[in-house]
Assembly symmetry: C2
Homo-oligomer: 304 residues x 2
């Protein structure tokens, strides 16, 4: 969910100091900081009441869980192993100790599942919305998998099925940490990103960073069961492409590795297209064989 202020952060990030061992600043799912022989991954994500959640619809436990889950997903998108989390909370007077304990419980329980320890943070009471910022660290055991590594001819894959997460699944999604590590250890993953804004939008980050276009195959895009089956086919594919908050991984591998990936059945992955052409050519081959440009918004109209 980028906005105008992201740009400011981006400019800031380019101001590397000479003393720094920063291998990669802002612009990917995590930054990469070289510590001795290790590559430390760093990322932060913030959830705000009134923007990202509504406490009348959710439990505090769910909010805490998701605050960590989106960060775990960032580490997964680099093929890394999450390690520590710093949790900063701005707490309105309406939140009780019991509620905040429940929020932390959601965070801690998910952290335990993924070997991630809450090592600190900051808390402030204020007369404003509830805010949770998590800053996560992880380790990359091979090379961090960047958005920029896609090669011409690479096949595109996603873990799991897409769409419909916005109706509630995004509060309980499984960050693909284990899948990413398993993929990274068995295949050469050339590029990877986690799907937060939706396939039609996020594919552009890989395309731009890798200076390549792509063609998605409409018939191969896995549509989640969460997408209403009573909708038309066009409507259903629209949801799979545009809903966002799937937190599945989108990645590319060589044609050789794609063949091996299609043959394995340990990890639930789906081949959905191929990298080719220039970075402004984000195309979809429809089921009827026609080739259409894939806008990152206004989908319904362009599909009609």
């Amino acid at each position: 969910m980028s906005n105008e202020f992201d740009l400011i952060l981006q400019i800031a990030s380019s101001s590397k100091t000479d003393a720094s061992d920063v291998q990669l600043g802002i612009g990917d799912d995590c930054a990469v900081w070289n510590v001795g022989e290790s590559r430390v991954l760093l990322a932060a994500d913030m959830l705000l009441e009134g923007v990202h959640f509504d406490l009348t619809q959710l439990t505090f436990y769910q909010v805490g869980r998701k605050a960590l889950a989106v960060n775990l997903s960032d580490i997964a998108a680099m093929g890394g192993e999450p390690k520590t989390a710093l949790v900063s909370l701005a707490v309105p007077p309406s939140c009780s100790i019991i509620e905040m304990t429940s929020l932390m419980d959601g965070l801690i329980a998910l952290g335990r599942e993924y070997g991630t320890t809450i090592v600190g943070g900051d808390t402030t009471s204020h007369d404003g919305p509830l805010l949770i910022n998590v800053a996560i660290t992880g380790l990359s055991h091979s090379s961090p998998i960047l958005r920029s590594g896609a090669k011409e001819g690479d096949f595109l894959f996603v873990t799991g099925a897409l769409g419909g997460s916005i109706s509630g699944h995004h509060w309980s999604f499984t960050p693909r940490v284990r899948e990413a590590i398993q993929l990274d250890s068995s295949f050469k993953i050339n590029s990877m990103i986690d799907l937060s804004d939706g396939l039609a939008s996020d594919i552009r980050h890989i395309a731009e960073a890798s200076s390549l276009g792509c063609i998605l195959e409409e018939r191969d895009i896995p549509i989640s069961d969460r997408v209403n089956h009573n909708l038309s086919d066009d409507e259903r594919i629209y949801h799979a492409l545009s809903d966002g908050e799937d937190y599945e991984l989108l990645f590319t591998v060589s044609q050789d590795d794609a063949e091996k990936l299609r043959k394995q059945n340990e990890i639930d992955v789906h081949q959905i297209g191929q990298m080719q052409g220039g970075p402004d050519q984000i195309m979809m081959k429809k089921i009827d064989g026609s080739l259409v440009e894939l806008p990152d918004s206004g989908w319904k109209h362009s599909l009609k």
Copy 2:
């Protein structure tokens, strides 16, 4: 500035996972995470409009600078070298791009001075107060200096003079990063903390963590020129002990090292007392020779 919700974070921090290489969780100025042979320091601090700052009194540049400075001070308090920062911003509609650029400029400029790179973060627009969270990483080149390492008989020192910072100096203070590294390389610093709440309050963290009491020498406490000279002596010492936001370092060394420290004049340090007795014995020897208990609040009254 601790509050009831800090406790929740503290409980969370004790939930270490087996997989973790966390040497030290919450409870000191930074957490310590072992990465290979390196010791990575981690901390986070948040500044909130309406709680920590008032934009009618300050420039955005000052707010950005301080958001990093308090984090640098946390790294300094462990004797570490700051390295990277993740910056999360919640931005109200009233803030312009120019203002937010100015905020980042304040942050970046200070980062450059101390070899700290902004490597990422998160930004969200919302209808609430401006909030800046900085999560910092650093490296400890020797052993991290903890609050818990003070020994019976250790002498207490502070860098610089105390008091009066609340009138404005805390927006431009110098984080004692260089002083801490220099001290750590030349002396055996047994324990250290940065002074954020005030000497009378922060000394208790060293005392409690080290299970020791202390006696401060009133006549040796360096009172900053920022404290009004027209006040009575009792009033002035009160400010030095209680104002807070000095961001000087408070540390302890053995009697041998104290002697060496008193003889050097490269680093501006002042010996102010000695560790002795039980952790509930936080005493001050007044100029008239009497020994008084040092409450962490209500100072004025007890001094009269």
